[in-house]
Symmetry: C3
Subunit: 259 residues, 3 copies
């Protein structure tokens, strides 16, 4: 079960588990592809009425940095990673007509914030913490992902996370409008169950139409982000600070970004 | 005074009362038409400087469900209800150049949230509660109304209300950014009066120009929601779950949405 | 140093001070031009990694009303003031690729809210208060400025500030999503320093790319606000209430807006 996205369907309820215990459920490249496959499978199942996505102990600590040196330093492979693997998974979630609940505890960083941003309802434990400190790793957020996160966490919080590497706790993220509810960690399962119990008896066609309407009304159309923005988005692949940030993390030393 | 929208003009101040006491001020079809007429009258009056809209004991509990079987189950009559009657009333509010204050107590559900979303300032009593649990009735929110509500309550809250039938109290809706102020119910009249007293001496032309600017800048142009979205929006009229939800409510029994 | 915008560069950190002590750092026309020059200079300096903008005792109390009778009552000079001087300064801030922190205490009104709205991170003292009570002066907010403020403070708060002349304290503006952090006034310097210390070691290219991405994704493109809106925006220049509001303030008497 290591490095996997596990789907468990039980009648009208689908449970999706981000499972990569050795790295606090960080997303490996293969997990992004599995995430897409899982949500495409969910979308094709007409009996489902609710999806819960979660991780054991932690929601998702970000990307699996140990893989980054393999593909991040050439523009074409970096682009393929973000536009195909990562966005493939996120787009499948955004395209899902079944309502999705994020059950969040522990670390919810980078990729974790992105995955949570694709959910309809977000319920967190009070031990959850949020951020996207990738400027420590020497790289910016890809444009579609930035649009998604900016929309979900708000522009101020997105700028704080990306430009100052801030970490924010669950109470603050509730106040910022990213979370529907925050509960003690011991009550997280019960709070999600209460929400699911409220959702399951609702009219399923109405829910699907509502999700389609929200998608059509989206202020940022993630699939139509200006093409020139995406064309230029990965030119930093081979830059000094990108390599330095990723390699320093791998080598367990502080990065040196000064020229 | 039953089933009416009552306009009372007193110098520079217009009071609008949603009055349908038998149903917690739920909007009947005729009340939507009266709402439009009232705000068209307000808009033509150049001496007005402030409008307050409210209901006795409750702001507005939603739509008058007892009328729904008359027109909801044919696509053309359902479309006419939403696009002409409901949107006619809401558009007249959105087009009003005089600042509008919502005074909210008790139930503010469905149509109530929509009407409040057309106001410039929202002051609520601590006994107010908010939601749009129409998936219990087997139907989704119409596209223009969903755009309006999503913009006013935020996308997360709109999804929670529509996809999980959540009810939210005034303190939570203040935190979510929908309410300017929450006060004990005994202080609601005074809080609204304080706000009105601050508004009446302000330059009226400046207020009208500001409202026109906000309207022009609206991120979602409610009058230009994609025409294909609206073209398809009412195809669910004759579906099983739509009939079942509305009829079950009328027959005072739980709906059965399972196929 | 009176009526000036002072730039102090110290290695990777630029400090910008709004300095007009006699008027709580209200922006004179020349200060708007200096603000533009300062941020154009910052933008050209490739060694900077962080900018802090602040004012002594007060952030900025608004515009310098004593100058208004010189140019506000003719449409062409009013337009030049807003579209060239004010927007020139704000646009230079929005175009700055270096992350900007607003350090806010005391009055943050009108122009102060606009300047703060161009910053990436906003940290305030608990004595800060916010508003845009220009309807007391008989005039509306210019369209680009309204778009900027609406985006930063939220539509509900923008309407409350402009249509009811509301003043809001720091705690409320934190809850409304405009402020990242609120601290006791004695701890404001330290809180900003903590944030700056977190920002300086981050990868600078990543920060610049992130800011460019946010700019490209902006929901409201301030430079492309509908041209007809701007064409008509200043017709109120010679109106009674505009003159009355500004002159009454200058003459230290209450304005009389009744026809």
């Amino acid at each position: 079960m290591s490095k996997s996205v596990v789907l468990d369907m039980n009648g009208p309820l689908a449970m999706v588990e981000l499972a990569h215990a050795a790295k606090f459920n960080a997303m490996s490249r293969s997990m992004w592809r599995q995430l897409r496959a899982v949500f495409e499978q969910i979308q094709q199942n007409q009996t489902l009425r609710c999806v819960v996505i979660r991780g054991k102990d932690h929601f998702c600590a970000g990307g699996d940095i140990s893989e980054y040196a393999e593909f991040r330093f050439q523009e074409h492979s970096l682009r393929a990673f973000h536009e195909e693997d990562v966005w493939g998974g996120l787009q499948a979630m955004l395209d899902c007509d079944v309502p999705i609940v994020a059950q969040i505890q522990g670390n919810c960083m980078g990729a974790g914030v992105e995955i949570a941003s694709c959910c309809d309802i977000r319920i967190a434990a009070d031990n959850a913490r949020f951020g996207a400190p990738i400027a420590k790793l020497g790289f910016p957020m890809a444009p579609r992902e930035a649009a998604l996160v900016m929309r979900a966490v708000g522009e101020l919080t997105a700028r704080e996370m990306l430009l100052s590497a801030a970490l924010l706790d669950a109470a603050e993220m509730h106040q910022r409008g990213f979370l529907n509810q925050v509960v003690p960690v011991a009550e997280l399962d019960a709070a999600v169950q209460t929400c699911v119990d409220r959702m399951l008896p609702l009219a399923p066609q109405a829910g699907r139409i509502n999700k389609q309407t929200f998608r059509a009304l989206a202020l940022v159309n993630h699939t139509q982000v200006a093409s020139d923005l995406i064309a230029n988005a990965y030119r930093y692949a081979d830059s000094h600070e990108h390599r330095e940030g990723v390699l320093a993390f791998t080598e367990k030393r502080p990065p040196r970004f000064h020229p």
